[in-house]
């Protein structure tokens, strides 16, 4: 009986806080994505060769966990197979957050673009599915025109 109560409490807590955290996170992601949308970050390997740039590696990483409720729902879906909707936002949040951190680091250096972006996702053990997402790439900062792009952004944030 007591096990059942603990389970119910965890489910309710997981659902409540999980939803709240997710909504708040998405709000913050959207806000910051709008701020950083002027900095292009692409997966192309070949930067334009017409201007000299300084190259630096930039990266962003985040560890996010699903919540108790969602992982329980997912384990139910697992029985029948099919689309596991409750984990999709988790991966989406992780990727977008990692990308934002990468862009933030790049814009602080005054970079004008980021090339050769790679993502890496790894699973971190634990009862509740937890993932780490790493995004990394090469930030190109123009050598000649002193860019104030990054400073403006960090003031806004």
């Amino acid at each position: 009986m007591s096990n059942l109560i603990i389970f119910a409490v965890l489910m309710v807590l997981g659902y409540g806080f999980g939803q709240y955290n997710e909504q708040r996170h998405y709000k913050s992601i959207k806000k910051r994505e709008a701020l950083l949308s002027t900095l292009p970050a692409v997966a192309t390997k070949y930067p334009p060769g017409d201007e000299r740039h300084r190259q630096t590696m930039v990266m962003g990483s985040v560890v996010v966990a699903s919540d108790y409720f969602k992982s329980f729902v997912a384990s139910l879906v697992n029985v029948f197979g099919g689309r596991v909707r409750s984990f999709e936002p988790l991966l989406d949040r992780g990727r977008r957050e990692a990308m934002l951190r990468l862009k933030q680091e790049a814009s602080e250096q005054g970079a004008s673009m980021v090339f050769n972006i790679k993502y890496e996702t790894s699973r971190i053990g634990g009862k509740v599915p937890t993932i780490e997402v790493l995004a990394y790439g090469t930030a190109l900062t123009p050598l000649h025109s002193p860019s104030t792009h990054g400073e403006q952004l960090s003031q806004q944030v």
Binding site: L10, L13, G14, F17, G18, N21, E22, H25, K45, P47, P48, G49, R52, H53, Q55, T56, M57, M59, S61, V62, V63, V64, A65, S66, D67, Y68, K70, L90, E97, F115, N116, K118, E120, S122, R123, I124, G125, G126, K127, V128, T130, E132, L134, Y136, G137, T138
Partner: protein, 111 residues
């Protein structure tokens, strides 16, 4: 230390010529989280959201791996590491290995 060394995950450096490919350099770091952090993360994971302790841990460990790679590149006399890749593997529950590798090269100004 890593200020002077050029680290990039592009395969070449626009405006500069690769004079010599020296060798493959690598750095790795295995870390585990201490029990207190682990416990807190376990509680936090019920509610979902970011586990800051782990984010920091992996970040530190990645920086250490890059530092080791740079040190190796300096030893072989390179001034840049190009085409850098990361990889992460979890070895045991609670421990992760971060591995970073790239090509150590000698870059010179193009004339």
């Amino acid at each position: 230390m890593s200020e002077k060394m050029i680290i990039s995950n592009l395969e070449y450096y626009p405006g500069m010529k690769i004079e010599q490919h020296i060798s493959l350099v690598q750095g790795s770091s295995v870390r585990s989280k201490h029990a207190g952090r682990d416990f807190m993360a376990g509680i936090k994971s019920i509610f979902g959201g970011e586990l800051l302790g782990y984010t920091e841990l992996l970040h530190e460990s990645r920086e250490e791996a890059v530092d080791r790679m740079v040190r190796q590149a300096q030893e072989v006399g390179a001034n840049a590491v190009l085409n850098v890749r990361f990889s992460t593997s979890s070895i045991a529950a609670g421990a992760a290995e971060i591995f970073v590798y790239g090509s150590a090269v000698m870059l010179v100004e193009e004339v």
